[in-house]
Amino acid sequence: MSSPILNAKTLPFCKGCGHDLIAKNVAKGIEKAGFAPLDIVLVTDIGCHGMIDGSFNTHTVHGIHGRSVALGAGVSLALAGSHKKVIAFIGDGGATIGLQHIIEAARMNIDMTIVIHNNMLYGMTGGQTSGLTPTGFRTTTARDGNPFAAHDICALTHIAGAAFSSRILGLGDYSDRLAEALLVKGCSVVEIMELCPSYGVKLNPKRKLSEIMESMGRREGAWRNDRPGFLYTGSPSSSDLTGKLPVVLMKHKGDLRSRYSIIITGSAGEGVQVAGSVLSRAALSSGYHVTQKGIYPVTVGVGFSTTEINIAPFKINYNGIQNPDAILVTSRDGLRHNLKRINRMKSGLLFIDSSLEMPETGADVTVRDFRAAGVRIAAFYSILSLVSATGIITFDAISEAITGLGLDDQVPFRRLVQMLNN
């Protein structure tokens, strides 16, 4: 059979292989559905079915085992809004490997037709059991019959939301039913039951397709979900990510001559990172270069929260802190996280909440009830203590940074200054 879609009379399959009929029915179905050859992108993968590419006059893509549906979904996304149709061929072995891709295409209702060549075993690699092998069906890896039940791919895709799922007994002319699937706007799945003459027939002599289907409790049919095919409607919320960043003006002056490294450490949810951002922004507005690194466990809402800040009158390249000039500790979590560093300090400043036990350190220690201001602003209180003690940044710069970051409602700057002065 030669047609506008197929360019070969003889297809590259074993005698009696159901794949041959599938290719011819798909080609006929494409014509019946009114598609021209270049309206179709045929995506195949590994397995005997994937040898068909060269015989189709459509666009063709030959991918890797089990992934034709995901690859085809990507093509469909690229061609969205056009009249093009993506057809993904996959075997039952590929469907086992790439089951997630099929379920995902069904869930998203991606506009494509998935043709599952279900001969109930991996044919190309030697007749091994797949996830679609029926119970009792003999394969080269289950000589006494497969002990497991087969996935019901139609039920799975239907319940996942595919617009159209159908099962066909792969004998004779079933091109009308393929044309029906191809005309669906959304995800259409066609499972075609067939037998592999090289392994399936030889290992299961005298068994017929209809009888095998009956033994599985499966029947031909079509199942629909009345829902529109996926069309990407998202749009970027930003046209310039850098344009969103607040520009900081150098309105203040700092007189640091060398690098100054600060660690603020406390508990998650207690404003440590935001306080670090305030200090960083105030430092920048004072003419310093600055780096800020957040450190916290992967469970961001619990445990310690630490931020490391470097301030310098020159460009900072390396941003690690070996010998901090100041450590600000507002909670037990923070103390535990930085205890060794505090112990190692031979100079510098340690600001520590009065509720905490005093660690061994060579730093000059300031004890203050940071948490008296409220746990969520303890870290802010601590940075005010630092700038008050060192003068590296002015209160005005801190105040403006709080305002600039939109934190006036959360950080009672004046009250904290009063507390500091008392």
Binding site: V41, D53, N57, L71, A73, G234, T291, Q322
Partner: protein, 374 residues
Amino acid sequence: MPSNGNSRMVITDGSRLIVEALARAGAEAFIGYPITPANLLYSYAAARIPIMLPAPDEITTVQWMAGLSAGGRLPVTATSFPGYALMIESVNMAFMMELPMVIILVQRLGPSTGTATCGAQGDLLLLRGQISGGQQVPVFCISDYHDCWKLSAEALRVATELRSPVVLLTSQESIMTRRNFDLSELGEIAPIKRKVYCGKEPFKPYDADNSLLPEFLPLGNEEHQVRLNASTHDKKGIVQHSTPEALDNTIRLDRKARHNIARYTFYEYDRQEDAERLVIAFDITAAAARDAVTQMRIEGDKVSLLIPKTLLPIPDEYYGIIHRYKTVVIAEENINAQYATILFGQKLPGSIRTMGCLGRMIRPDEIVNEARRS
């Protein structure tokens, strides 16, 4: 700090600059999969890239990207080792099909899951050996915010011109640490103008001229049939076992990245007259190396600095530079001198000294000490 009337000083992380640069260069789709420490890239992409889709897994990610790319869109994703490991078969597929895409690989401490929130530079040997057959995917490496901007755009350009996946390599500290930066220092990024096949003859997707670069035509076009293939194939894209034409195509795939490397050789060479020492560092370690070299020069040592940005394939220029020095210190945040091994093999020349560490950044003073020891 000095400031002029045009300066736009902000505090930002590098992830933001990378995504903005890619968007301006013409990235049309970002396929997202959440993984630390690449999450900021995903978040920014969700706000900025025209098409952003969340993939259910890393294999799907690259398969969708390949489909989008084959359909004429330029896709990007970001991941870290555990995700990249799952992507590799699909990266091989995209390499074989010759589909442009950019994968941002944010290194973290391995092996396996390792420590998600700890930086590292441990994926270089993986990247060098990721293609079955030994062919090379171009790998660019970011060393500062200017690279976040320029190199990201270049990665997309080169991916498009070479019809190849390109890896944009970075690491946790490089793109998650926030720094002050003057946005006025960033140059314009022109959108990539993509050339497509315009001939009358049937399109052969793998037919290349002396540039070894085949022309591109998207799937679904009305003019010509397009056949793409991940298996050994001829110029038309038809599966072949091992015909001379198909094997020639596989050989071309091996040569095309190196043949065109002049298009994408990026490095920073800070040469000091009469220096006999050279420090080589990249990614986050480049920051420590810059400080180390500055300190050494202040203290009277003569030393040069090479920051490779095109890590793979290796530009010949690097060997030319390295051979001018009596001693060369290669610093990288791993315990097995990965880039040094890629440069010179297991048996390093006597002039090469390597240094590394695990679970933390290499410090400038460590580089200074090693350079002075040599």
